[in-house]
Each structure stands twice: as C-alpha cells, then as structure tokens.
C-alpha cells in the first residue's frame, strides 16, 4: 500500500460551504445508483451475479458523512457490505461492477466478488466476510500507521450485528490501551441479516444506545443520526481529530436503516435469485416500520434540504443524478463486456 504523510484532503478544503455539500450529495447519489444497478442486475441479467451481494442503500449519509472528514492517505476498512466505500474513494465504478460480476477486469479479477472488494492503491486494503473479524484488521492498520508514524488514521466500519462478536471488544480494548489512530463507526442499520437489533443487543434491550459499549473501554461513544451526512460529519470529525492527535480511538454509532433486504435470496444453483422484500415486511410483517424509514431516505432528504438551503439548484441536482446514472450504466456495460477469467487462473494469488 502506498504510504503518504497525510496530506490535506480534497474534501476537507471545502468542509463547509456548498462545494462540500454538493460533493457529499454527488457521492451519495453515486452509491445509490450503483446499488440500484446491482439490484436490477438480478432481474435484467439473471445468473450474472453469483453468491451473496449486500447493498449499502440507506447507508449513504453514514458512509459519505464519515469519509468527508478523511485526509488523502487515511485508510478505510469496511465490512463485507462494501460497495459504497470505494465508490467514494475514487475507484472506477467499472472495476467495482466488473468484480461484482466476477469478471477478469474486476478490482480483484473475479477472485473476491461483492463481499471482498479491495483497492489498496486507494487505501482500501480489503474486507472480511466473517462478522467482526475485520475490526481487528482495521485496528492492525492503525497499528501500522502508529508504528510508521505515517500520520494516517483508519476509518473502520462495521454493523450493529458485528458489535456482538468478541473481535469487536478485544480490538477496541487494544486500540484504547495502545492509543491507536482509529475511528470505529458502528453502522446501526437496525438489522443483522434477518434479526432486528433489539432482539440481540443488551444495550438495546435496556433502551440504551449501542454507543454505550464505549464505556467498556473508557473511550468516547456517541450516537448520531446516520441519515444526516452533516451530522455524521460533525461527530466523526471530532473522533478523527482525536485519533490524529494521538489520543486514541472513539466509537461512533450512526443510526440509520438498511433500505433493501439483507442480500439476494440464498439459493442452490441453478435456481435463480433476486432481492426479496425487506425483512421488516417479509419476516416481521411490519410494513409500517419500513415505510417510516423509507420516508427518511437519506438521499432524498439531503437533496430536499440542499435545495431548500439553496446549496444546490434543481438543475445541478439533476445534472449530478444524470451523471451518476450514466457512470453506473457505463460500469454495467463495461462489466458485462469484460471476459470471465480463464479456469486455470484460479491457481494464481494463493501465495505471495
């Protein structure tokens, strides 16, 4: 991974003002359009996407708000629900889509797929599909930054479900003792797969926020409205500053709602698969909950707010949206045209 002394971030230059807000909106739209295209692919091109894909729609404000505080060389380590982050980091959508389609021109040449995107050249080393484990990896990346005194910090994203895995607790304790430069973003999208978080989290059962877990490490713990990128930016900036100052980790719970189902339906091939209804509806029969959060769609709300504040005009919003759609459509076409890897390539990359 290239190493840089943390430079001034493009995004930071414009942390306030409409440039920044437009940048945020643009990234949110790009994520949303990308995820919609993935979802559509299951219908329009059945069989093209194998295995299990997981979308970030609903998480846009959390992802973009957090990453808007990032400096150029800071490291980003999300969970297996990972499409949105490289979109923001500048990885070509063509490569991301081609990877989701299992093509040779994919980011990982078809070896990783939807769950295992990786773009180390853009400070995104990779992900794990085993819940909670990448929290330790991200903590290790922060150790590298500290040992090398690189000035980098690490943004570690993981789900509400992952916060029940031992790796979460062990990692945060070590990061706190070693004062590692890392921000832990607990993306509380209110579900772990088919389970509502209130069914499995002791803090939630007691009516407390999940950020209370920070007490176990005597580090700052904050819960923020994860549908509002500006609110997210504010609390993450504080946590990032703390990390940069050598004061150690923080835990930020961004609370939002996953807008699609956990993933496409799990099937045994050659049965085909698509995205089912959201679990709130399909499992819990709770359409009200789903509609409630749908109405809080972070992309739509941010758009409305920017228009209202005149940080954005309707025509420029439309331009942003059209550009994102075109970029994504180009990515889909590129990915469809990219060849599948040749079978024998499978024995590459086992050892370094």
């Amino acid at each position: 991974m290239p190493r840089k002394t943390a430079g001034k971030s493009l995004t930071r230059k414009a942390r306030t003002g409409s440039d920044q807000l437009q940048w945020m909106y643009t990234q949110m739209v790009r994520i949303r359009e990308f995820e919609e295209a993935v979802k559509r692919t299951f219908i329009e091109h059945p069989g093209v996407i194998r295995g299990h894909s997981h979308l970030g729609d609903g998480a846009e404000a959390s992802i973009v708000g957090a990453l808007s505080t990032r400096h150029d060389a800071d490291i980003v380590m999300p969970s297996y629900r990972c499409h949105g982050y490289p979109v923001v980091l500048g990885t070509p959508l063509r490569k991301i889509m081609a990877e989701v389609f299992g093509r040779r021109d994919g980011l990982c040449h078809g070896f990783g797929g939807s769950m295992h995107l990786s773009d180390p050249s853009r400070y995104f080393p990779g992900t794990s599909g085993i819940i909670g484990q990448a929290i330790a990896h991200a903590t290790g990346a922060a150790l590298t930054a500290q040992v090398k005194n690189s000035g980098q910090i690490v943004y570690c994203f993981f789900g509400d479900g992952a916060s029940k895995q031992g790796a979460f607790f062990e990692s945060l304790n070590m990061a706190a003792v070693w004062k590692l430069p890392i921000v832990y973003v607990l993306e509380n999208n209110q579900y772990q797969a088919y389970t509502h978080f209130s069914l499995e989290d002791a803090n939630a059962v007691a009516g407390d926020p999940l950020s209370k877990k920070a007490d176990a490490f005597s580090i700052p713990g904050v819960t923020v409205d994860g549908t509002d990128p500006v609110a997210v930016q504010k609390v993450v900036a504080k946590a990032a500053d703390r990390a940069r100052a050598g004061k150690g980790p923080s835990l930020v719970e961004t609370k939002f709602y996953r807008l699609s189902a956990h993933g496409n339906v799990i099937t045994v091939p050659p049965l085909s698969t698509q995205f089912p209804d959201h679990e709130a509806v399909a499992v819990y029969g709770n359409r009200k909950e789903f509609e409630h959060w749908k109405a809080k769609d972070p992309v739509k709300r941010f758009r409305a707010r920017l228009l209202k504040n005149r940080a954005l005009t309707e025509p420029s919003a439309k331009r942003i949206e059209a550009a994102a759609r075109a970029e994504v459509e180009d990515a889909v076409q590129f990915a469809l045209a990219s060849p599948l890897p040749a079978p024998e390539e499978a024995l590459q990359y086992v050892y370094a």
């Binding site: 295992h116 085993i130 031992g166 389970t195 045994v268 599948l340």
Partner: protein, 324 residues
C-alpha cells in the same frame, strides 16, 4: 413407511421429532425464530427455541455449559466456517471436559452447520473445514449425503451423549430422497456402501457421494463396476468397512471437496495405506490448492467434479489389481 423428502426437510424433521421425544433438547442460533409466528417457536415455546446474536463463542460455549448441566442443545451455526471464531469451544472444550473430569460430566451437544457452498460465495464461506475436527478424541463428526441419512444421523447425533458436529452439504439442500417415517436412527460410526461394485472402490464424503454415484453410473456404461463407500461419519471413522471394500476391489479413488492436505480423503488414504497393505493403486481427487474463488469458471476449476472422478477411476483401472 417412507416418504420422499428434501435433504433440508429431513434434517428439520429429525430435530422436531427428537424435540418432541425429549424435553431436554433445545435449539437456538442466529437468524432463526425471529417472530412468534415461527413454527418451531410455536411448537416448543421460547424457552426451548431461541434466537442468538452473532456470538459463536458464547453460543457454542453456552451449549457446552448447558450440556454439562442437563440439557441437550442443538446450536444452529449456519456455515461451518463460522465455527472457526469459536474453535476452541469446538475442539478444545466440548470434547475435553468429560475426560478432564474423569468421566464425571458429559457434553451431549449438537453443532449443526452447512458446509462447502460452492455457489459464488468466495473465499471464506464455501470451504470444507471438517478435517480440522477429525481425530479429536471425544468429538464426533457427521456428514450425511442423502435425505435418509440426514434424518437418521441427526437423530443419532441428538441422542448421543458426546459433542457431535453435524455438517450438512449446502449443495444437497434441495435434493430429494426416500426418508423413513417416524423413529429412524442411523448409528454413528457405520459407513454405508451406497453402491456395490467389484472393480474399484470410490470413497466419497457428503456432496461428493452424489458426484461419485453419477460417475459410477457413467463408468458402468463403460463396463467399469465401481463400489461407492460413504463413511457418513468422519469420526468415528468406519475403517474396517472402507478397508474391506478396498481389499475386495484392489483399487481405490478417494473423493473430497477439500484441498488435498486438508481433506478427510488424505487421512482415509493413510488408513488404507496401513491396513490394505497389498493395495497397489490409490488416487486422491480433491479440490485444487486454492481457497474458493468467486467467479464461476474459477470455482468450477478448483472443485472436484464427475469428470475428474471418472478420469481418476480410469487411471487406477489401468493398474493391475493385486487383490484376490
């Protein structure tokens, strides 16, 4: 009486029947029994059927502790790799506690997980990790290949007084077969000759039994009469049945979905090497030495298939058999 049933349903049936039989059997895991409408929850109540967080170490460890004190837990773990985050509980707690207590406690625990979902799940969800659990004294490992075995072995696993890892092949989930109604228990530690033959023995595990059977059909059409042996349980391993078959046919092909040195096949080959001393010709057909790749052509290349089994059988047929 028997009924045609899917592999997955056969497993569920065994769990339901055993839970009806014994009130000490409980069942829990992630992403199950989410709502009051869940049929298992309705049948057995929320004391005996529970939803758990993503906490495999606690889930399995709680199962161990509950088993030590009088329950017979079945823990639903979904993919077998998820056990790895809690692997101490699987191979260094559950199977050791009885021994260390000098026989005072027992740990009647079933760890249920699917394995080897070669369907585009990439490097961490599709592998076979059963070899890691073989040969651990005190631990039993079950890998059913048919709906009937799936039912009978689950019943046996639940009734067993030891920790049992029950690994079902995700690839067989929807496969149908005749399943005996009512009480049906397949003893642990008894291999099954899924197809009798004279020319060559094929030893295969789980999903690979299905592939071996298909290969045997093709070979029969070419005049090669293969015997297919399914160990059914990797621990205890029914060495005599396997060795007897090999002694009879004089040739053996071992098929395993795992890479060579992490396969059950290699261990079984070792047993054959010691016990069928006059065997001249043995072939391993295993996954190639790579993690499971995402893309379809890559994955198909890595995982064993019918063609590779047929080829291996033909190659061993080229050797002179020495057995009587």
């Amino acid at each position: 009486m028997a009924r045609e049933m899917m592999y997955a349903d056969a497993i569920a049936t065994a769990i339901i029947e055993e839970m009806q039989r014994d009130p000490n059997v409980i069942f829990y895991g992630q992403n199950m029994a989410m709502t009051e409408r869940d049929p298992m929850l309705k049948k057995f109540g929320k004391q005996r059927v529970r939803i758990a967080p993503i906490s495999e170490t606690a889930e399995i460890g709680i199962g161990v502790g509950a088993a030590m004190t009088g329950l017979r837990p079945i823990v639903e773990l979904w993919m077998s790799e998820f056990m790895l985050v809690a692997f101490d509980q699987v191979i260094n707690e559950a199977p050791r506690l009885r021994y260390m207590s000098g026989g005072q406690v027992s740990v009647p625990l079933v760890l249920k997980a699917g394995y080897g979902f070669c369907a585009g799940w990439a490097g961490q969800h599709s592998n076979c990790v059963y070899h890691t659990m073989m040969g651990i004294p005190g631990l039993k490992v079950v890998v059913p290949s048919t709906p009937a075995d799936a039912k009978g072995l689950m019943a046996a696993a639940i009734r067993d007084n030891n920790p049992v890892v029950y690994l079902h092949s995700y690839m067989l989930t929807l496969d149908k077969g005749e399943v005996p109604d009512g009480e049906y228990v397949v003893p642990l530690g008894v291999a099954d000759i899924k197809r009798a033959g004279t020319d060559v023995t094929i030893v295969a595990v789980g999903w690979m039994v299905k592939k071996a059977m298909a290969a045997a059909d093709r070979l029969a059409a070419e005049g090669i009469n293969a015997e297919v042996v399914d160990p059914r349980t990797l621990a205890p391993l029914d060495v005599p049945t396997i060795v007897d078959s090999v002694k009879k046919t004089g040739r053996v092909v071992l098929v395993d979905q795992a890479p060579r040195h992490s396969s059950a096949a290699a261990v079984i080959a070792g047993e054959i090497a010691e016990h069928a001393a006059d065997l001249r010709t043995l072939r391993l057909v295993t996954a190639l030495d790579a993690p499971n790749p995402y893309s379809e052509p890559l994955e198909n290349y890595v995982v064993p298939n019918e063609d590779k089994i047929v080829d291996a059988v033909k190659s061993v047929m080229a050797h002179e058999a020495v057995a009587a």
